[in-house]
Symmetry: C2
Subunit: 341 residues, 2 copies
């Protein structure tokens, strides 16, 4: 059992050629022209022996390991992770690379360990992913390999892939207009701290800027803006109940689907029908958005595209600086009326 792995020398021997020849033929280097018979012999030998190159040996020699590291702050906490990871994985596979997954919890000490672990294994590049868009700390030693920031930014590494939140914000308003709703719209979940203040999030403030620009371009204004700290369903529920005490909105523009989910619950209790009495638009295209009755119209995040694009940029030759803004897919479901009310 466990017979020794087949090496290049074995292949060369069987083919009756030197390892050099075998190496050149199998790696398909173009400049050298060995005879067609030599090619065939080597390929046949490799196939019949079931030869597989030893990547460690090759990496030692060439400093290329055909692997990248995906370093993320969180992989489980959020439903965003899997899309980013899956997209990245697909792009890595297309480029015949393999992907190391590392989690840091956002802690600098673990970030350093993760980068070290990756560098120790000669990775060809690093993806730094953030689950909530933010400025990310990237350890110094990462300077020696290509780095692409995913869903986050870094002062040091400008290559990044981000959702086009501004355009997404505009689209949400356009959806309202398309549904014939121009007045009595309540903005749900706005948070001044994130938009402008201490906990400013570039993503959220771009989204809101898109919303506000589109509103003012269309000559519209919100009936009210209710803010909350946390975008969880129970906040959406409480906020909506509060709003209904004093206002009778025609639509709710929710800053994410979980808030909208809470709003559905409150609306249901109040006996309001969606979309006849009140319409909703929201963001994220969370899994629940499709499960609600009626389905929630929402502006999704292009996570899978983002992951894919990030790895593609990392691997496609010289790294270009700058941010890559990916379109947020708009998903029209039943929570807005089909046409002019």
């Amino acid at each position: 059992m466990g017979k020794k792995r087949v090496t290049l020398a074995d292949v060369a021997r069987l083919a009756g050629l030197s390892t050099t020849a075998a190496s050149m033929i199998l790696t398909g280097r173009p400049d050298t022209r060995l005879s067609p018979e030599a090619h065939k012999k080597v390929h046949d030998a490799a196939a019949s022996l079931g030869y597989r190159p030893n990547v460690a040996a090759r990496a030692l020699r060439t400093d290329k390991s055909r692997s990248i590291a995906f370093i993320s702050d969180y992989v489980a906490t959020t439903r965003f992770a899997s899309g980013l990871i899956r997209g990245a994985l697909a792009a890595a596979e297309e480029a015949k690379h393999v992907m190391l997954l590392l989690e840091t919890g956002g802690e600098p000490a673990r970030e350093i360990q993760a980068v070290e672990a990756a560098l120790d294994r000669q990775v060809d590049g690093l993806i730094f992913a953030a689950m909530r868009a933010r400025e990310v700390f990237v350890p110094d030693m990462a300077i020696n390999v290509p780095v692409v920031m995913l869903n986050g930014t870094s002062a040091r590494f400008s290559s990044s892939v981000l959702p086009d939140e501004y355009q997404g914000g505009r689209t949400a308003v356009e959806f309202l207009v398309r549904a014939g709703i121009r007045d009595d719209i309540v903005l749900l979940g706005h948070n001044a701290q994130q938009e402008e203040g201490l906990f400013r999030s570039e993503a959220i403030s771009n989204r809101l800027r898109g919303i506000r620009d589109a509103m003012s371009d269309a000559g519209m204004a919100f009936l009210a803006e209710v803010s909350c700290w946390n975008w969880e369903p129970n906040f959406g529920y409480e906020l909506t109940r509060k709003v209904l005490k004093t206002h009778r909105p025609r639509a709710l523009l929710c800053l994410n689907d979980r808030l909208a989910f809470g709003a559905y619950q409150a609306l249901g209790e109040a006996g309001l029908r969606i979309p006849e009495d009140i319409g909703l638009v929201s963001f994220d295209n969370d899994e629940i958005a499709g499960y609600l009755r009626p389905g929630l119209t929402t502006i999704g995040l292009p996570h899978e595209d983002m992951g894919h694009r990030a790895v593609q940029r990392l691997l496609e030759g010289p790294l270009t600086p700058g941010a890559d803004l990916l379109a947020m897919p708009a998903i029209w479901r039943g929570s807005l009326p089909e046409k002019q009310a």
Copy 2:
């Protein structure tokens, strides 16, 4: 920029010793006793140079790469993936290993490629994960490394980590009893094909066996069993509506949370209050379970534990055969009455 990486030879030179000595000291081999001063000199030199071992070189020499591969059929499709992955990642990190993530889509061709890619990189072991518990095809060449099956089984590799579905099933019934509900219980989502038939799933049939055994042990019987093919919310919704036309159940035992979510919607429309009029228990501890009003009482899947345990087994010395059954956490929320009704 890009100065050559520090090698062991550099460390040895600075310490004024041979690379042999440096190697022995840094890898901390116990049997050889070099002088304490030698130890100090080498460690100091390594630290001041920022030395990091080259894992590729070490792997070439020792056939150990301090890395494992997590080969999964799907990483995104299901909300189960992230827990399994996260647990595995944590265990790998504890063991100072790094984890390659590979996705196969359940396609044999990609499974072979994944195993090859992993083996080419000298991984120390393989985790084969299935998102829906099932018999998994594992390519031949995987025979040369330790393999642990995660949430699935394989005829060839008996080491596996699975949820204890049987006990989980029993717990669900115990919850009903604890809530004082012994009669008029409807089982929602049972599927004969999965329980016994063509698409038999070991996991689901164990879960159902646990449920049935506990019911009969307690001298209870279902008021009705309604089955469906797909465990999605709209099935739960339709099924519940159908049930309500002919029965007035005191509780619904749902086979997963998405079914239960659909049931909530139908129950809400019918004006039935949870848990006063009707109670619910379910399985999975999906994210939505905590968002519903009232919260859904559910028997969760121990994904994170499972991932952790699988990697632990893979890495802790000789692989023991057999299945490791992990307890399913029971989460009591508001969808069952607190005490005897």
